[in-house]
Amino acid sequence: MITITNIKKVYEKNIFALNDVSLNIEQGEFVFVVGASGSGKSTLLKLILKEEEITSGNIFISGANITRIKKRELPYYRRKMGIVFQDFRLIDKMTVFENVAFAMRIVGANERSIRRRVPYVLSLVSLEGKSNRKPCELSGGEKQRVGLARAIVNNPKIIIADEPTGNIDPSMSYEIVELLANINLHGTTVIMVTHDLSVVEKFPFRIIELCSGKVRADSAGFIDYQSENITKVS
């Protein structure tokens, strides 16, 4: 599904954000990406989203090399993914229903399918009774569930969750990851960046640890042979 081969991302003054990273994420996998600040987690997500250009190496998604995607094709590429943000990124003036529906409008869905699909997706995240509420009337956990509903409403093949539990209380955190796990059960690949080790420990998913721009550990046993610091986590 996602094959990353020897990618390097070098910023000005020879700062290596990612240095020779290779990974392979299978379709339907759930992957936690962990690491300290500055380890390269954000850069990895930015490169997958093609928000930044790779200095060298390649990223293949479903066999297609994303370095060859043209600017005008980017929106269509990003529609294959759903993004969940740490700060929810909901539009305050819109209701829960509208926040989810507008993701469908962007891809050109008709009103009939929006009216059918949005309530279904909201029921998946247990928000069926709150579709007319505004984000300011919701708790942190509920807001994140709206974000999740928006991310999955267009049936993406990949979900990228950037610290989705960072702004909510611990009890809600498990609930959010459980929802992501449920989505994953239906075959959606989930890449979740997190600092929250308690969540990571609780779920039996693959863990990739980044450190100073390199893969320090990968529980799937994918070994970066060029790195001496690699450790295999079982």
Binding site: K46, Y77, F85, R89, I106, V107
Partner: protein
């Protein structure tokens, strides 16, 4: 900020409209002056009047002419000379020549027309007003150039103001735009509401400016008709033209201002989908 841009755009359109009105009025006044503009063509004493008439008729640039006999001329001098003095110059002893008052259709061909008149048999000389004609014609050209640059400058100012408004609007909505881009919205999808905003600002300002100018100008016409020694055009003479001009300017400036700004903004500041 939208209110500020509407106000600035109204000011720009009012100034553009005022320039247009002044230009139209100058054109109108010049046309009147041109119409009235005539020279006197003096004839030799033994000139054949019919031949001279025929010669004048053959010149295209002459819109009209009147015969001005030497008897009429001496009558006109009576007031200045007094009846006793002018009495000596009546009949055979009248020293003044017969003449024609000739009006031109196009002042820019003044010199060429004078040359043609001088070629007519029986014509002695003409009263030369070429300098005045040239000045009037130059004034028209100068004002046309000035109006052109005023309209261009004000257009540029309006463009800048609309562009700034859209930029601020986009900056205020950058959060929303980030979300749109992350979900896969195309640039056109993001552009559309801002382009509509630009067009709305432009059209709304144009409509308000039109009615404001109409009120101001009508008030000015009322005052001017009692104070200025010549007629000026009523607003109705160019109201349709003005409305079309304002709406087109508003639409075009709004749309261009909006689209250019959004294009630049999307390229420079909105390149990041997710800000970590």
């Amino acid at each position: 900020m939208s209110l500020a841009s509407v106000m600035v755009m109204i000011c720009c359109l009012l100034l553009t409209g005022a320039t247009f009105i002044v230009a139209e009025n100058i054109k109108f006044i010049l046309k009147n002056i041109e119409g009235q503009n005539s020279i006197t063509v003096y004839l030799f004493k033994d000139a054949d009047l019919e031949k001279v008439k025929l010669g004048i008729n053959n010149i295209e640039n002459i819109s009209s002419y009147d015969f001005y006999s030497k008897e009429e001329a001496i009558k006109d001098y009576e007031g200045m000379l007094g009846e006793r003095v002018s009495g000596f110059f009546k009949g055979e002893s009248n020293p003044l020549p017969d003449a024609f008052h000739v009006s031109f259709s196009d002042l820019s061909q003044y010199s060429a027309t004078i040359s043609e008149i001088m070629k007519i048999e029986g014509v002695d000389t003409t009263s030369d007003r070429s300098e005045i004609a040239e000045k009037l014609s130059n004034l028209k050209h100068i004002f046309a150039a000035i109006s052109f640059w005023i309209v261009i400058s004000l257009g540029a100012v309006s463009l800048l103001i609309i562009s700034n408004t859209i930029r601020i609007a986009m900056h205020n909505r950058r959060f929303e735009i980030n979300i749109l881009r992350s979900i896969g919205a195309t640039n056109n999808f993001i552009r559309l509401p801002f382009a509509i905003e630009g067009v709305a600002i432009g059209t709304f300002s144009a409509t308000l400016s039109f009615f404001a100018l109409r009120i101001i100008y009508s008030w000015f016409v009322k005052i001017a008709n009692n104070t200025i020694p010549f007629n000026i055009l009523p607003f109705e003479k160019f109201s349709n033209q003005m409305l079309i001009m304002f709406i087109s300017m508003g639409l075009i400036l709004g749309l261009i201002g909006g689209l250019v700004t959004i294009g630049k903004y999307l390229k420079k500041e909105m390149s990041e989908v997710v800000v970590w």
